[in-house]
Symmetry: C2
Amino acid sequence: MIRTLIATLLLATAVPLVAQPLPTPTPAPSGKPSYLPTVPKAVADIRDAALTDNYAWDLVEGLTTEVGQRMGGTEAEARARAWAVAKLTAMGFANVHVERFALPVWTRGAEAAEILAPFPQKLVVAAFGNSASTPAQGIVGEVVGFDSLSDLIAAPDAAVRGKIVFVSHAMPQTQDGSGYGFFGGPRRQGPSIASRKGAIGIVVRSIGTDHHRNPHAGGQIFETGVAPIPAGALSLPDAEQLQRILKRGQPVTMHLTLVSSIRPGDSGNVIAEVPGRDPTAPILMVGGHLDSWDLGTGAIDDGAGVAITAAAAKRIMDAGRPLRTIRVVWFGAEEMGIYGGMFYQDLHGREGHYSIAESDFGADRIWKVDSKFGKPREAEGKALQAALAPLGIVPGPLDEADGSDIGPMIEGGMSAVGLSQDGTKYFDLHHTPDDTLDKIDPEALRQNVAAWTAMLAVLSGGIEPQPKARKRR
Amino acid sequence: MIRTLIATLLLATAVPLVAQPLPTPTPAPSGKPSYLPTVPKAVADIRDAALTDNYAWDLVEGLTTEVGQRMGGTEAEARARAWAVAKLTAMGFANVHVERFALPVWTRGAEAAEILAPFPQKLVVAAFGNSASTPAQGIVGEVVGFDSLSDLIAAPDAAVRGKIVFVSHAMPQTQDGSGYGFFGGPRRQGPSIASRKGAIGIVVRSIGTDHHRNPHAGGQIFETGVAPIPAGALSLPDAEQLQRILKRGQPVTMHLTLVSSIRPGDSGNVIAEVPGRDPTAPILMVGGHLDSWDLGTGAIDDGAGVAITAAAAKRIMDAGRPLRTIRVVWFGAEEMGIYGGMFYQDLHGREGHYSIAESDFGADRIWKVDSKFGKPREAEGKALQAALAPLGIVPGPLDEADGSDIGPMIEGGMSAVGLSQDGTKYFDLHHTPDDTLDKIDPEALRQNVAAWTAMLAVLSGGIEPQPKARKRR
């Protein structure tokens, strides 16, 4: 059936370089097929050419160097949007524009943590998003330590009241990042739980897997009815230091300063498109988030993601015109609460989306592809698996996909692809000052671009070459 | 000859467990001996028992946890001395005391570096020791970048005058740390050179080999007649960021705040001894430096060194009484200019020292042994090589050894041993906030203790067992 289609298309005057594959997998001897359909040469060619990509590096190098940190809702994020519009326009994208929205903007101020007794010394700390502010001179309290969130929950209020809570449980490295859910609890739920029990503040072991004096920031939202308290993360070496000090058994007094402020502000999603030959066809949406945490320059979170997805779309644009419009979205203010993703859903959620996909898990190699197209389009999922396997990408489930900004839309039923990056080292850097350009391996970045380009080629409905400019005599 | 000696000694009532080996190497077939004398069983036994050592971990864990940073001349260093006296006394050392001396104490204040134009963003910076202080509000100047110290030296004064100098050359990793000399130039000489040319400040790429947002502090002393200027280090990712920004070709303006102060103060060397059977015999001196830089907790620099050397001396003490007194010295204020080493030399330089040795290059495995005993005692150097080879330690030169605090004494002609730690990763952590306990591998630490214990066993002149306490009926 693929051959028939290609033969038909070859007779047409405008020859699509990349035909949408409609595979017919041969049944495997043992029943369940353990192999995949053949990959059209045009898809393989555009995929392999992307292994020499420089667009993505140029984008992430430019964004992290010329803007740097770009926390959601700040003046720096506004500069990032202006940078993005200029860059995407210069790259030849169509319909480049910003869709703005309002949000409360939390801003970090002076921060310090110091053990006053029994062993005076400074610890490295960073506040979580939406932390309450301490007074400028900080607060002083006795530290009560817990080995896990469960231990904090189980503790009588009297053991916590008037104290500074410390939770120390440690997240392991995992390839798929699955530890982040459970082990992120002390950051996400810890502040609310501690506040309910009467704590005057909370510090937790950073939700990370490194051993550097760089705390991991991150968002948290106080539950309704809970009084916000100062809440932050100690770097992992500092958390282990505090554990050792507590183990000595003497009362530990901490001076904690976590100054911050909240004000009304605004952010926006940057949109850019590769127009499809059929403007009525459901679109392909790809992207990442433009904002970053304030401590690093947001290279792996998520400069890489916006760079990879735009680079892939640009490579399709260079190859010709796809049937479907490809929409690149660089979401705003993801870190502060998925504001950009929710705003996009409000504005565009009822438009036809053939597939959506987001890159927001670093810049290491993609190791697995998931998709969720629904049963009738499962063959497309297999065609995608086939196109990606030569990049060392494992065929994953055909009935799931995820993403941060696009999470609500996937839950709403949109078809989606998940190109999973190796997350083993991701939480060494995630939300820390160390999230900088030097952590990106250019070759791994190119493998990402090749995978995203191949995905777009498979799903774009066929790419038609641009008419060549006539030579003047 | 060894056998004769041991036989003789076995006839004595007090049997030395460890006889000083007087080796007779058999000539190698090809002329140069490529093998070493046999190792007395008593030396091998005491060495191998040290591979299960816990003294060193207990010391470095205690010092870094209960004191933390202990910059030379500060109140924290005074607490470290009190901690040391209590600990060494509790361990059973004799003659535990402090020998105090005066020094100027430089103290770090508020620090910040911010690019104002063309791409506003903050960079991570730390002042060098003896840096001049900026005003509290900092200074603002155009940045002039140089790829090496040579380029700065070659630049016309007019290119530097009134500007903030940036030197970016990068140090490679080496096992023996030999890059630190040449590549440390921008820190040691850079500030003086920049000041002579009229610069208002200088920032250099940290003298380090990591890629974390942690700057490497370090000492520097302005040349006589040179006006001190503010001088500091950018973390490596920030230095590379500044390089990328400068490469864009637009004028770069920096706001630099490096507040610091200097006041008179005092420090001291902590001394502890294992008394020898012969109080008139020249002594063995071993040690490291007790002070640390202020950014980390001084685990590898030099908590490990003081722990390793004291643990080895304690293991000898546990085994019995050596012929020679072993003196453990924990030097004060090394980082600020080898004050403790020079004071020790002034006070004790004319006493008889059979050998001196210092551990001050981290906590990784020892890979090479050097010694400098002079030609007549070369056989002792070979006996030492033989005793250490089973720990995976390469026999090094017999005519050289070095050390920081003990450097001036070695130059003055004292016999010395150098047990070289693997320095490949040392400059990832050196003088940074990341110099913390979690960076020490307990097994590598034990290999160090085993090597130092073996060295003391070889050179101690024989260890006599303690008389056993009589059992009461």
